[in-house]
Symmetry: C2
Subunit: 394 residues, 2 copies
């Protein structure tokens, strides 16, 4: 029986992954609960504090801010809610444009639309999998002008008020370049750090460079609260406002129910924060396991032609949330075959998201040249990344 | 020392409440976890399914629909999210108006604004504490016209596309009259049943009369999921669409990430649904305890002048979520004194919400005459209502 090239590559990848994780079926990313999760959940039941306030909410916010080196953390129901409020408080107005990578999860764009604003898609770079700063600067020089201290898209006449880099799979974007662009063009930087808890750029935690950073604790993330997210900021007034807006904008009073603006019910329940507190205690061991897993994959893939294991960018320490294979350009037509072969072998592998500009709800929105994003979207394969793949075997 | 009338009434109320609940400090409403809560939470940890999917989500939705006699239930993060999606799928468009009582929690109005629509406040009646149907019909006859099968506010020119009665403290609104108005004026009925799980109008569960009904499982509700809510509907297509919209509008596929409309991250995590499944098993005993508590308060308040214990409307069975005192008209100036005396005695009592039309964010929105709402807002006092106030003492 003859075997074509894509099948051979698919089988080589399958063998390499199985040499690390074994031959049982394996998920892309599973949470693990090896700490105080059970005890803290029971504590919620015993205290009856399961809902909108409680000691675990306070503790989770305190520990999270401390861990990330942010002054303040505000816990919310999920990363989407975190982004929505961060953008709103960053001053994004209806009909503004907000820059974001085309290569991100749909939540980044959705949150922009919740503000009534328009997602404006820009290209990513292969080095970081995040926004290509050099290309963005050139694009903005050619397509925008400054008016009254605001950046205006010359093609649409709309203000570009914010940019939202996303740290893909936990790899920090080129924050130094993006920050300089934000300053030079009067664009507010909000970091979508949903995937990058535990990732550092030049020694500083992601999500603490912009006016806001947002985190996610969905079940597939490095640590989970069931559903959950958080807003990071170093600005006291904005932190207070974020807490106010996410808790129905109720004014403190002994018994009166009075709200002073249109608010949201975005608070993280104490039950979910309890899980988060226990998970946060295990974060460093999970991160260590993820780096170990990366090393093992590195050894397994060193001799496999046609594909490369993605490594953290220079000057960065990534959390390696999702381990990533990058197919060579000349292998990109084989993506579907490789996904089929690996999934058929019980290995959960996934492509990256369909580029957002290609989705029906976003197809008519403004975008820059997206050549690299288009290439990456045909070449990225995420492979099993759970920390317990190492912990269970060490 | 002489004692004025308001102090005397405050002390009589304090004594009556304490004759039922004892003299220890007592909350307005506390959850209790006397069933399988601990076991189901542990099951989530053991299975690792704490997040966006899981057997408890499916079970909670199934059991909830069955209990309410709705064909479908879609669980979401909270009652606000439920209302947002229900209104969106009811066809509420930006710049439409939506009728709601001025006497409701702020979430009802907030959800309307999330659709870009305009809250339009109408009056409530003392008999149900919900929308006054007779008064609404007269108001609509005088202030609206029909154009192309839509109801148009003649004063603003905007379409009135929906009405959202809210079943205050668990007491069903006058659904028969409101349904006939909805039909006669081409206005879609969506029920805010956040407070009325376990409440029936003419033998049918609240939240199943309108195109949608929405529930809340916040910590202060009859049963809790920490944070949570649900959408009820009898329409399969709308149920599917609600599930789709609340789960990021992702198209089912073995591995592709493609979304066909702007969606929301509103799903209830499996962890919270686990709590809900256990709580739902205890619902009938909680409801029984609440009716018992009502009877005990009835006996305690029978001889107290100046205040009346609110009783379920005719032809209804209420869940008595929050027990309610209604001050006589001539006592309404004494509300704050009575709140101060009871709270100082360790009894958590609360007034009703500030009327929404009086809040800064809503003060310029359209409203009907609100005479009864204004009267009720100065006369309602909620008193301790937890089911365990009876269960612990029986």
């Amino acid at each position: 029986m003859s075997m074509n090239i894509s099948q051979a590559l698919g089988e080589n990848i399958t063998a390499a992954i199985q040499s690390v994780v074994g031959t049982d079926p394996v998920a892309l990313h599973e949470p693990s609960f090896d700490g105080n999760e059970s005890m803290y959940l029971q504590d919620c039941l015993d205290s009856t504090y399961v809902s909108s306030v409680g000691k675990f909410v306070d503790q989770f916010e305190f520990e999270l801010a401390k861990y990330a080196g942010a002054k303040y953390a505000i816990s919310v129901v999920n990363g989407t809610a975190a982004l929505h409020i961060a953008l709103k408080l960053a001053g994004v107005q209806a009909s503004d444009e907000v820059l974001l990578p085309a290569l991100t999860f749909v939540a980044t764009a959705n949150a922009i639309t919740y503000c009534g604003a328009v997602p404006h898609f820009v290209d990513s770079e292969e080095r970081t999998l995040g926004i290509d700063g050099a290309k963005l600067r050139e694009y903005l020089l050619g397509n925008t002008s400054q008016a009254s201290g605001r950046c205006v898209n010359k093609n649409t006449g709309r203000i570009i008020s914010a940019m939202v880099p996303m740290h893909t799979f936990g790899h920090p974007s080129d924050l130094e370049t993006l920050l300089s662009i934000a300053r030079d063009f009067n664009i507010t930087l909000v970091e979508d750090a949903a995937e990058s808890l535990g990732s550092y750029y030049g020694g500083q935690h992601t999500g603490t460079f912009g006016l806001f950073g947002t985190l996610s604790f969905n079940g597939n993330k490095t640590i989970t609260t069931g559903g959950g997210g958080a807003i990071l900021t170093n600005n006291l007034e904005l932190a207070r406002h974020a807490k106010h807006l996410t808790t129905t904008a109720k004014i403190r009073h002994a018994w009166e129910f009075r709200h002073d603006e249109i608010g949201y019910n975005y608070r993280m329940p104490n039950l979910n924060a309890a899980l988060g507190c226990a998970q946060l205690e295990m974060l460093s061991s999970k991160l260590k396991a993820k780096r170990d897993l990366f090393s093992r994959y590195q050894n397994a893939f060193v001799d496999i032609k046609g594909v490369e294991l993605f490594n953290e960018p220079d000057n960065c320490q990534s959390n390696y949330w999702l381990q990533t294979l990058l197919l060579d350009e000349d292998q990109s037509d084989n993506l579907d075959v490789i996904l089929a072969i690996t999934n058929a072998a019980g290995i959960m592998t996934r492509p990256v998201w369909v580029l957002l500009n290609e989705l029906v709800p976003f197809k008519d929105f403004p975008r820059a040249d997206l050549t690299t994003s288009q290439s990456l979207s045909r070449r990225i394969i995420n492979i099993p990344s759970s920390p317990n793949l190492v912990l269970d075997k060490s």
